[in-house]
């Protein structure tokens, strides 16, 4: 049970950072990015390729990977961000699928369907994670020493990701409350009015989109570090909709509800995997994977119809109406 809680906490940290990016794009700026998972993929792959193929140290490869995610975001956003929201949603989800199909098919670059293990070709077991594990072990030993307990790797992971997540939450919260954040809300509510007041709508949207891309990129790095090897199928469009559930659950502009939403989501989502009481005991472990996705789907439908402002949200500001 303790192992399970730590795993949930670690995963919720990743979802927190990922969903925070979506909150800025979708909740604050009104940009429905249905392809956010692709930004995780871009940065995860960029880091893995940088470390394994180019021999870069992690401390350089990781920031470069986030830069790659932001550049990909700009590449996608500059032409598409002026589109009406439904067109933008389709364009982003199509872009996300292009990334995934390319990752599946460019075996020479990405290792193909087998994932990053095959980065150096089949049978070579490429590893991008040794430096991260060294850091995580150092953290683990530190905690064990300090508190005279035997710390688990997941605990060390949590002790790294959660401070980062909390700092990011505080920064984003301040940004959202700043004049910049108010301009974004104004754009979301009425683009023409914002333009008439002399605000550079295009630039503000681009900034919000890039910030979201950077956060998704960072979440992609933590995901890569947590799992040690990943495949293109880890970035199916479904993962973006986990973030939508989390953001809508907490109220779409509610920054501090994101970690709570992430925790709730991960407990329910992972709980169906690890817990075995009735009625979950009726399903095989394979079927539970499908059951989880049914629950995610129902959550989206029920929340958006009956409680568009989420659990904690303010109906006037946080309702998903657009």
């Amino acid at each position: 049970m303790a192992d399970f809680s730590l795993f949930v906490l670690a995963t919720a940290g990743i979802y927190t950072i990922f969903s925070l990016g979506l909150l800025v794009q979708f909740g604050i700026a009104g940009l429905p990015n249905f392809g956010n998972g692709a930004f995780m993929a871009v940065s995860g792959y960029a880091m893995a390729i940088g470390i394994v193929k180019l021999g870069l140290p992690m401390i350089i490869a990781a920031p470069l990977a986030m830069v790659a995610a932001v550049l990909f975001g700009l590449l996608l956003a500059i032409p598409t961000i002026r589109l009406r929201s439904d067109y933008l949603a389709i364009a982003t989800v199509a872009a996300g699928e292009i990334v995934r199909y390319l990752a599946l098919n460019l075996e020479g670059l990405t290792g193909g369907a087998a994932g990053t293990v095959n980065l150096l070709g089949p049978g070579q077991a490429a590893d991008y994670n040794f430096e991260w594990l060294r850091l995580q072990n150092w953290m683990q030993d530190g905690i064990s020493h300090l508190f005279h307990v035997r710390a688990k790797p997941d605990l060390a992971f949590c002790c790294i990701i959660w401070p980062v997540a909390l700092i990011l939450l505080a920064i984003v919260d301040a940004m959202v409350r700043s004049p910049w954040g108010r301009v974004l809300r104004a754009i979301r509510e009425d683009q023409e009015a914002a333009t008439a007041l002399g605000k550079d709508v295009f630039r503000c949207k681009l900034q919000a989109f890039s910030l979201g891309a950077a956060l998704a990129g960072l979440a992609g790095l933590f995901l890569a570090w947590q799992v040690s090897t990943f495949t293109p199928d880890d970035f199916k469009p479904t993962i973006t909709f986990y973030a939508f559930v989390i953001v809508i659950l907490g109220g779409k502009t509610n920054v501090w509800a994101v970690p709570i939403g992430s925790l709730l989501f991960t407990i329910i989502f992972s709980g169906t995997r690890f817990l075995g009481f009735w009625p979950l005991s009726l399903f095989s472990s394979g079927d539970k994977a499908f059951l989880r996705l049914i629950l995610v789907g129902l959550a989206l439908v029920v929340l958006v119809i009956f409680r568009p402002q989420g659990i904690f949200g303010n109906p006037r500001e946080d309702a998903v109406e657009t």
Binding site: R84, A94, F290, V301
Partner: protein
């Protein structure tokens, strides 16, 4: 040359399936302002209902297909009543999110109900008709005939019946249509009935042409449908029919070795998504649509 002819034929078969599915999606989009992310899963539902009767219970394919179409059509109406009608006054994005949720529920329920293995209809997959230089599989032959009938029936319905005229009127200007006395609730149900029936038919045909299929079949073609919809101009059923045929042709013919060796088949989808994004940028109103600000 023969290879090119064969590719054109295959492209028309794929294109016809995309066309009828996309026409249904575009109809709903135009009449009800709903971009349906579950449309591909409606196709899968039709295919699986037909498969349950044909592959599991051994009924003949025609009965099974008709049952698949009817069930999908009714299902689409029920989903509309339960989940989409409460969303009528809400924006496009939130309706999108609801349909994404519906697609998750359908797809994974199919996985739990029917398993994740590959399914086939009980037709002779190894048989091939030789028509001139073309090699035509039985599934393709059925699809060509059935989709041609469906395309003309839909065209006739939209052009000459009252309900079809109402649909086009609402798609063009919903306020004006409501003022002139169009019963929008009834129209919504009829639109979903047609859209669901077309999706069910397209799903059965796709299952026949692919040979094997699983519950992900709809998710794989969803963005092809959207591409066809955007190609033809969102909301235009005629446009989507053309868009589907064009997209099917482009995807197949792009693999012809006459074009600088041809595109590798596995990049066909990347090509289609590239077309979609390029279209959204350059001509979001579609090839036939009137230019307007989006």
């Amino acid at each position: 040359m023969n290879q090119l002819l064969q590719l054109v034929f295959n492209g028309l078969v794929t294109g016809a399936i995309l066309a009828i599915a996309a026409a249904g999606a575009s109809l709903v989009w135009g009449v009800l302002r709903i971009g349906n992310f579950a449309h591909g899963d409606y196709m899968a539902l039709g295919a699986f209902v037909a498969w349950a009767l044909n592959g599991m219970l051994g009924l003949d394919l025609v009965t099974a297909a008709v049952a698949g179409i009817v069930v999908t059509a009714l299902f689409a109406v029920i989903v509309d009543r339960l989940a989409l009608r409460p969303m009528r006054s809400r924006g496009l994005t939130s309706v999108f999110i609801v349909t994404v949720g519906i697609s998750f529920v359908i797809r994974n329920t199919l996985f739990i109900g029917f398993g994740s293995g590959a399914r086939t209809f009980s037709i002779d997959q190894s048989m091939v008709y030789l028509v001139g230089p073309l090699r035509v599989a039985p599934g393709q032959a059925i699809t060509v005939v059935v989709t041609a009938v469906a395309i003309f029936a839909l065209g006739w319905l939209l052009a000459y019946t009252n309900i079809g005229r109402s649909m086009r009127a609402v798609a063009e200007n919903s306020d004006l249509a409501a003022v002139t006395g169009v019963d929008t609730d009834r129209l919504a149900s009829v639109t979903w009935l047609i859209s669901g029936a077309l999706a069910g038919l397209a799903g059965v045909c796709l299952g026949l042409v692919q040979g094997t299929f699983d519950a992900n079949m709809g998710a794989y073609v969803l963005f092809l449908l959207f591409t066809a919809v955007v190609l033809g101009g969102i909301g235009s059923a005629y446009g989507a029919l053309c868009g589907g045929l064009v997209l099917g042709l482009v995807m197949e013919v792009s693999t012809w070795h006459g074009f600088a060796g041809g595109l590798e088949p596995r990049y066909k989808l990347v090509l289609a998504f590239g077309v979609l994004i390029a279209l959204l940028l350059v001509r979001p109103q579609g090839i036939f649509g009137k230019a307007r600000l989006l």
